[in-house]
């Protein structure tokens, strides 16, 4: 079965990543970042492989994966749109901007649009607090984002 082969290939690659970084002090979080960077999320079978390489229990690794918001358990949409919802951006309309984004995409924060195009997220501060509202689209930061500008950015996101 092809899917079995795919799983094996992924497991092999995860083992390679984990072994490559395993020598670092406190290697688990760098390994999880690297796995997510390559595959877009950390799958449950990855957890077992990483636990094996680091000689940790699956429960321990699972506990770390679920503690940190950055680590996804499923694939995200093609473009992630993260809207700052922290105080300084709230002072210049970030809550209304967030509501606008939810209406436009049909997503709540943390959800992916039905066509798999966009994942909408909230973040608490990008360190761009003098030029808010701040939005990150596919890793790029945008300041002073109005609803109109957000629509344009969402439209460009393919």
């Amino acid at each position: 079965m092809t899917s079995g082969v795919v799983v094996d290939v992924r497991a092999g690659r995860v083992r390679e990543i984990a072994s490559g970084l395993g020598g670092l002090r406190g290697a688990l979080i760098p390994i999880l970042h690297a796995v997510q960077e390559e595959f877009g999320y950390v799958d449950q079978p990855d957890v077992a492989v990483i636990a094996d390489v680091l000689n940790l229990s699956v429960a321990e690794v699972h506990g770390v994966v679920t503690f940190y918001k950055d680590f996804r358990r499923t694939a995200a949409g093609r473009t992630t749109v993260a809207i700052c919802q922290a105080e300084a951006c709230r002072a210049v309309g970030a809550v209304a901007l967030g509501e606008h984004a939810k209406r436009t995409t049909g997503c709540e924060f943390g959800e992916t649009s039905y066509d798999g195009r966009i994942t909408l997220d909230e973040v608490f501060c990008f360190g761009n607090c003098a030029l808010g509202p701040t939005v990150q689209v596919g890793g790029r930061l945008h300041g002073r984002v109005t609803p109109g500008r957000l629509d344009a950015l969402l439209g460009e996101a393919r």
Binding site: G26, L28, Y68, A86, A91, F124, N128, C129
Partner: protein, 511 residues
């Protein structure tokens, strides 16, 4: 001829990259024999002027901003590359810059952050060179004498912390830099790392020499990808230059430095939670004692300091402890890097001696609100800091004066709100944030935050009079319980924004 365009992520968020590209293209097209070198710098911190382009002239650097990519052709046609046309004048002479005393931020926005030559040409490495001629104990005492206090929030004297680590016997010691900067309204750590990363590296190396540490870690939040990339590049360059490695500056002293990227947990800015995270674990807060100075990373004696604390050490060593301590007021010595954000006309970085008043910062430098409406409140010191009304604008920026007013300076972030803000919703958000970011170790914080949201909702739906007053009493009891019963300042300080909102803006809690 040199043109400076910031590469700071705030400047990039308003299209600085496109401006730089357009200048390069335009200079090429016009091809008037002028070779234009574009230098990407950090930001001067006048963020409302970004993208701010500077052109080198015989008189100094002339500024143009804010510039849209579409404006570039016209500006160049009007002689921008020779410092002509409609400019802001000399950047160093702008009132915003003149009002400041830039010690920690002296090079930010001025130099190419990844040029070792630029760094040395602007006094870089002179602090470390001086330190290496002293004994470790002398370096520690210099930091004590400077009066430097931790810039991460708690304001603990940095030199005293170092003294403890120096005195601890161990096979291995660590220096950890807290670059988690999770507080909303704060961005100075990010700007320093993006604009002058060698200063942080130099400061950490001095710290390591002072206490006998061999390894250092910078815990940098994942929300700052540009800072991560810049710091990693800077560390590589520092190794190449032997500013890091087994034989720092040929002194025989060895120290190496590594970046660890956080994973989206606010609580990992708390120092013991950060250490757990650096060890590869969940960011659960540790009970103190033992203190990290004695049993920190992997149980070894560890310095944990904020980016700005460490980045201020080079100037202290280079110019002397006394020169630094001469700035400031009371027990708040030296300069602090204040950050103006939110609904403010002129947002950005203000480095100046402690003692400047809140009102001078918000009104004189910040120019009031961006919306032009009256200012209603400012939140100082991040999400765990108090909301203050304009009546308190006479408060000097000073750790003790703020504590007396039931507020805190924290990391120096000041967030401005105009009169459209609803303070009950901000108080509710403080609880929501705590509920979302609590590490879950202790009940007052984990459960209290959730109860707090519910209680505020009840206050807002209650009929005026007794019902509402009853819920306000419950809210006050809850705040007291969280303040007294929480293991760390996440739960312990969440009542600060809440109580200050009730105290100063009680009318917003009427349904």
């Amino acid at each position: 001829m040199r043109v400076f365009v910031p590469r700071d992520s705030a400047a990039r968020s308003v299209r600085a990259d496109e401006v730089a590209e357009r200048i390069a293209a335009c200079a090429q097209e016009s091809g008037g024999g002028q070779a234009v070198e574009i230098v990407r710098t950090g930001s001067r911190g006048m963020l409302w002027l970004e993208p701010l382009v500077e052109v080198e002239t015989a008189a100094g650097r002339i500024g143009y901003g804010p510039i849209n990519p579409e404006d570039v052709d016209g500006l160049i046609a009007a002689g921008m590359l020779d410092g002509r046309g409609k400019s802001l004048g000399l950047v160093e002479e702008l009132p915003w810059m003149k009002r400041q005393e830039r010690l920690t931020f002296a090079r930010v926005g001025v130099i190419d952050p990844l040029s070792a030559e630029d760094y040395e040409a602007h006094d870089g490495m002179s602090g470390l060179r001086t330190a290496l001629t002293m004994t470790p104990a002398e370096v520690v005492e210099a930091v004590v004498d400077s009066g430097l206090r931790g810039r991460g929030g708690a304001g603990f004297p940095t030199g005293i912390k170092w003294r403890t680590v120096l005195g601890a016997e161990a096979d291995l010691k660590f220096v950890c830099c807290n670059a988690d900067e999770g507080d909303s309204g704060t961005f100075a750590d990010r700007m320093l790392i993006e604009g002058d990363p060698f200063t942080l590296i130099e400061g950490m190396t001095i710290a390591a020499y002072a206490v006998g540490a061999a390894e250092g870690y910078v815990y940098l939040r994942s929300e700052y990808p540009d800072a991560v990339a810049t710091l990693k590049d800077a560390i590589e360059l520092a190794r190449t230059n032997r500013w890091l490695g087994p034989d720092v500056l040929g002194s025989g002293f060895g120290f190496d430095l590594h970046v660890r990227v956080g994973a989206g947990a606010y609580i990992c800015g708390e120092e013991t939670s950060m250490l757990e995270s650096l060890e590869g674990k969940r960011g659960m807060v540790r009970a103190k004692p033992p203190i990290p100075a004695l049993q920190g990373l992997f149980g070894r004696p560890t310095i944990v300091n904020n980016v700005l604390s460490l980045a201020t050490v080079p100037t202290i060593l280079a110019s002397g402890a006394k020169a630094y301590a001469d700035y400031g007021t009371g027990r708040s010595r030296g300069t602090s890097v204040f950050q103006l954000g939110g609904n403010v006309a002129r947002g950005g970085i203000v480095e100046t001696a402690f003692g400047i008043t809140l009102g001078e910062l918000v009104n004189d430098l910040g120019g009031g609100t961006a919306s032009g409406r009256p200012t209603k409140a400012v939140q100082v010191g991040g999400p765990l800091g108090a909301y203050l009304p304009v009546e308190q604008f006479g408060l000097p920026m000073d750790y003790e004066a703020f504590a007396e007013a039931g507020a805190m300076v924290g990391h120096g972030g000041i967030v401005v709100f105009d009169d459209t803000v609803d303070m009950a919703s901000m108080a509710r958000f403080a609880f929501e944030f705590c509920a979302a970011e609590s590490c879950g170790k202790c009940t007052p914080c984990r459960v209290g935050a959730v109860r707090g949201v519910e209680t505020i909702d009840r206050i807002l739906t209650a009929t005026a009079g007794t019902d509402r007053d009853k819920h306000l009493v419950v809210l006050e009891d809850l705040c007291e319980l969280m303040t007294d019963g929480s293991l760390c300042a996440m739960g312990g300080l969440t009542p600060m924004p809440v109580r200050s909102a009730v105290r100063h803006f009680g009318e917003d809690f009427n349904a």
